[in-house]
């Protein structure tokens, strides 16, 4: 078997609460240089007496606990992490260092603008860069993740119609869309209408025209879509939506295919979000923080969230909060600023040539993997893809091997599985996004692992079905977790 990992030290580690011993602590608090507080006098019954739910562990305990747990994680810095539509690219170390500079990490959101001009200049500069890359006019950096960006974008669309005195109630969402799209529309009380993709996996003008009427506020579209296919009718589709008074929302989750190649703003998109944790290399952090800036065309600029950063004629920067058409404030402060600092650093490092090269290599890598895997794996929508490709488990049906089994067996080879069972329009989908970070040799090894599993699905399907075999824990029972939810540790469990 080809392998990307061998069995090494496999540490066990209990929960913090099970490690707890009375009297231990991992951090000392300074001795007071002021009179101690008389809690009983000051707070009386408003005070609590103890924190019995917190552990008592030493610093070494804590360090070993989390270090051991970290070894149970797959990560980009350990190897290929081909989650489709998540763009798990390498996260340069410079970005981490820069974000930790005290002038960024210890800056306070309530400092007056004139005291934080470096940050406002960075905001302004990043907005300009993202506007140029996306082909849009204005940018807000406030949304904390892609889904909050979608929410902001749909809110701006709603505000736009309200300002025009138009009542529109529907949002069109292709059947291949991310789940966040319909959920974001629903949070704005829009009725979600699903539009079917064509047999070739892309959206066709006729389908949009049939669903498009004066009730429709917007079409939400991901381009390249979640099959990795470029929506080549995008311009005509946007024209159809615009002709009937609608707007087009672009889900920028897959922007990594287009940097310097093509711009959503030039295709007719009116508003879009970008995921800085995908395209612009800010680390995914085990599930965030991300950042989801939203770019708009001029017609939606009056509705941007506040505050917006404004450049004065003397070159200084100020916050502007008085925007009559604004949707309001979306984040407690200015968004996930640490992520903005990292993304700005990344864009300056790559420069215009680097951005283009990044997309070229991402697209080349995805097509190369597709070429190596097609045949052994069923390809539901053949053709040239952009930054990701989608396979399915159809070929393995005779052997009773599913996409879940393939994914779990891939873990035995030392790889994080691709996104599975998405998009929903492909039964048993395996959605693979290698990103530009992988070398030819790395892609070959990964392809060989998948091909070995494809062969094994025929020769020894049971081994595939019962994978993973080489992990610390075997396949986990998700049904049990949902049927009898245990969502926190309780001391009763310890005695069992």
């Amino acid at each position: 078997m080809s392998s990307n990992a061998s069995s090494g030290f496999g540490y066990e580690e209990p929960l913090l609460f099970e490690r707890s011993r009375p009297g231990r602590r991992g951090a000392e608090v300074p001795a007071p240089d002021v009179p101690p507080a008389d809690v009983a006098r000051l707070l009386g019954p408003l005070a609590r007496t103890d924190l019995p739910g917190l552990p008592e562990v030493s610093e070494v305990d804590v360090v070993r606990h989390f270090t051991r747990m970290s070894t149970w994680n797959a990560a980009v810095d350990l190897g290929l992490y081909p989650l489709g539509s998540c763009t798990m690219k390498y996260n340069p170390k410079l970005n981490e260092r820069v974000a930790r500079l005290p002038g960024f990490a210890a800056a306070h959101p309530f400092s007056p603008a004139e005291r934080v001009q470096g940050l406002l200049a960075l905001f302004y500069g990043l907005e300009q860069l993202l506007a140029e890359i996306s082909g849009m006019d204005r940018v807000t950096l406030q949304p904390a993740a892609g889904a909050q960006g979608e929410l902001a974008g749909i809110m701006m669309i709603r505000a736009y119609y309200e300002a025009r005195g138009e009542k529109r109630t529907r949002v069109l969402v292709p059947d291949s869309a991310h789940g966040t799209n319909p959920a974001s529309a629903a949070l704005n009380a829009y009725e979600v209408v699903s539009v079917a993709s064509g047999a070739d996996g892309i959206l066709h003008p006729a389908a949009v025209a049939a669903a498009m009427d004066a009730r429709v506020a917007a079409l939400m579209i991901t381009n390249p879509n979640t099959l990795g296919l470029f929506e080549r009718h995008i311009k005509e589709i946007c024209e159809i939506v615009h002709a009937r008074g609608g707007l087009v929302y672009g889900d920028g989750a897959n922007l990594n295919a287009l940097l310097g190649v093509a711009r959503p703003g030039d295709m007719g998109i009116d508003v879009m979000h970008m995921n800085l944790h995908k395209t612009f290399s800010t680390p995914h952090g085990g599930g965030g923080p991300g950042a989801g800036p939203v770019a708009v065309k001029e017609l939606l600029a009056p509705h941007l969230p506040v505050p917006v950063v404004v450049r004065r004629s003397d070159g200084g920067f100020v916050w502007e909060s008085e925007l009559p058409g604004t949707i309001g404030r979306l984040h407690g402060q200015h968004g996930n600023v640490g992520m903005l600092v990292r993304a700005y650093t990344y864009i300056l490092s790559l420069g215009r040539e680097g951005l283009l090269r990044c997309s070229e290599m991402a697209v080349l890598n995805a097509n190369y993997l597709l070429a190596r895997l097609a045949g052994e794996f069923h390809v539901p929508y053949p053709g040239t893809v952009m930054h990701e490709c989608v396979l399915s488990d159809r070929n393995f049906a005779p052997y009773g091997v599913t996409t879940m089994d393939v994914a779990k067996r891939l873990i035995d080879h030392g790889y994080h599985p691709p996104t599975i069972y998405f998009p929903l329009i492909v039964p048993g989908a395996l959605m693979i996004e290698p990103t530009e970070s992988e070398s030819l040799e790395g892609l070959d090894r990964f392809a060989e692992a998948l091909l070995a599993i494809a062969a094994e699905a025929q020769s020894d399907p049971e081994t595939v079905r019962s994978a993973p075999h080489r992990t610390r824990l075997r396949r986990l029972d998700e049904t049990l977790a949902a049927r009898k939810p245990v969502l926190r540790w309780q001391s009763d469990d310890a005695s069992r």
């Binding site: 739910g53 960024f104 993740a145 085990g286 599930g287 019962s466 926190r488």
Partner: protein, 434 residues
């Protein structure tokens, strides 16, 4: 590679993009720069920002300056945490999943509730999501907001509610600095009453009264906590009748970072778990019967339920919740309590200095934690500027947020404030420092 793809030029890979849509020019983005050049540019930008490590700092208002133990950043910097993603594949994400489970357990302990999710974006969006949850649970659309709710939390909530036909009413501020939490302002249409604890003005609210008022009308009590360290000292809101406790856990080891990334939390009663937004980690067994953790009850979430999900949230604040979990483990049961008492002591010392300073006053009598309002005899902007020119950031000018108070600032003293720096800040505010 290209040949294997059936092409001979890279450009052919982009053939699916119609020529008319291709960008015919280079992006107007600066040329690539070396690491050193980029670092120098960013360091120069960083140097143009005032920050909480540069000198005495008494500005909080939702983003708090606390000491960050070295182990927190050392551990979260491990690439296995930093460069992984949402734990969709539990067998190779147990580190992240177990940490989330530990976070959920500690948030439950601090809030006095039974279930906590795997984080929200920040305290403001957590509060908005808590209100949406209360509206789903009660199927009502009216929301009562305590006067002491952080003005930015209120604004974010209003943004989230704008399209949903919800109505908000504000409960007035009483003269002692607490919010008026009486049942008269609520009715049978009220989904929830939202109370910040301690309030934006630092006042410790009477949550029992809030719970009684809400429950009298079948509404929920939502308690929003902007300074999470206060939970170590104040009675758990869940024990006082709160149904949902949400807020901001930045104080637990997360850098201020100009307001984000921070880490929102949201805890509730188990009976309402099906209406909870966001991800949840749960305990289960593997094929060999060994304990492990998975994301669970996902049928609430957008990737399964789509437009009928409880929220649209997907990516949350994973690495920040890990920071907070490590921080809480380090401080632990006794350390966190001691730290909270030290914060209280510093603030009380500062209050005592205010009481003896001519020209300064304490407009409110309600108990406080580490933050309180100081009334001034002159416009706050001038007093704060005077302090800044002496190197002291002495608080937040409340003029934009509570003009009725007259000249006033919000002053926060954490464990980072030395006695001498407090003396100096109060003297500067009073205008009697050299």
């Amino acid at each position: 590679m290209l040949v294997r793809c059936g092409h001979d030029r890279l450009e052919q890979l982009f053939a699916p993009i119609p020529a008319a849509l291709r960008l015919a020019r280079a992006l107007e983005v600066p040329a690539a720069q070396s690491e050193q050049e980029v670092f120098e540019h960013l360091a120069a930008l960083a140097a143009r920002n005032e920050h909480a490590q540069a000198g005495p700092w008494f500005l909080g208002a939702g983003s708090y300056a606390h000491y960050l133990p070295s182990a927190v950043d050392a551990l979260v910097s491990r690439a296995e945490f930093t460069t992984s993603y949402t734990p969709y594949q539990p067998e190779i994400s147990q580190g992240t999943l177990q940490a989330i489970f530990e976070w959920q357990t500690m948030i439950c302990a601090l809030t006095g509730l039974e279930v906590a999710n795997a984080s929200m974006y920040d305290g403001a969006s957590a509060t908005a999501e808590a209100v949406l949850m209360a509206m789903r649970v009660t199927r009502r659309r009216k929301v009562a907001l305590a006067a002491g709710l952080h003005p930015h939390y209120r604004q974010v909530l209003e943004t989230y509610l704008a399209g949903l036909g919800a109505e908000t009413v504000t409960l007035p501020l009483s003269s002692d600095g607490r919010s008026t939490l009486s049942p008269e302002a609520l009715d049978r249409e009220t989904a929830c009453c939202v109370v910040q604890q301690p309030s934006f003005f630092g006042s410790v609210e009477e949550l029992r009264a809030g719970a009684a008022a809400a429950h009298a009308h079948g509404a929920l009590l939502v308690v929003s906590v902007a300074e999470a360290l206060s939970l170590a000292l104040l009675e758990a809101p869940g024990a006082l009748g709160a149904d949902i406790v949400c807020g901001e856990a930045q104080s637990f080891g997360v850098p201020i970072s100009f307001g984000g990334p921070h880490v929102g939390f949201l805890a509730a009663r188990l009976a309402h778990v099906r209406q909870l937004p966001g991800r949840l980690a749960g305990q289960t067994l593997d094929a060999d019967g060994r304990r492990g953790f998975v994301l669970t009850l996902s049928t609430r979430e957008q990737h399964i339920r789509r437009e009928r999900a409880t929220s649209n949230i997907c990516t949350n604040q994973g690495l920040c919740l890990l920071m907070a979990t490590i921080y809480l483990a380090l401080l632990g049961r006794r350390g966190l309590r001691e730290l909270a008492e030290l914060n209280l002591a510093k603030a009380e010392y500062a209050k005592a200095r205010v009481r003896t300073s001519a020209g300064l006053r304490l407009p409110f009598t309600a108990p406080t934690f580490n933050e309180f309002v100081i009334g001034l005899a002159e416009p706050a902007a001038g007093a704060l500027a005077r302090a800044r020119s002496a190197g002291v950031v002495a608080g937040l000018d409340l003029a934009p947020y509570a003009p009725a108070l007259g000249p006033a600032i919000l002053f926060c003293a954490t464990e980072l404030a030395s006695r001498e720096s407090i003396d100096r800040a109060i003297a500067l505010l009073a205008g009697d420092a050299a």
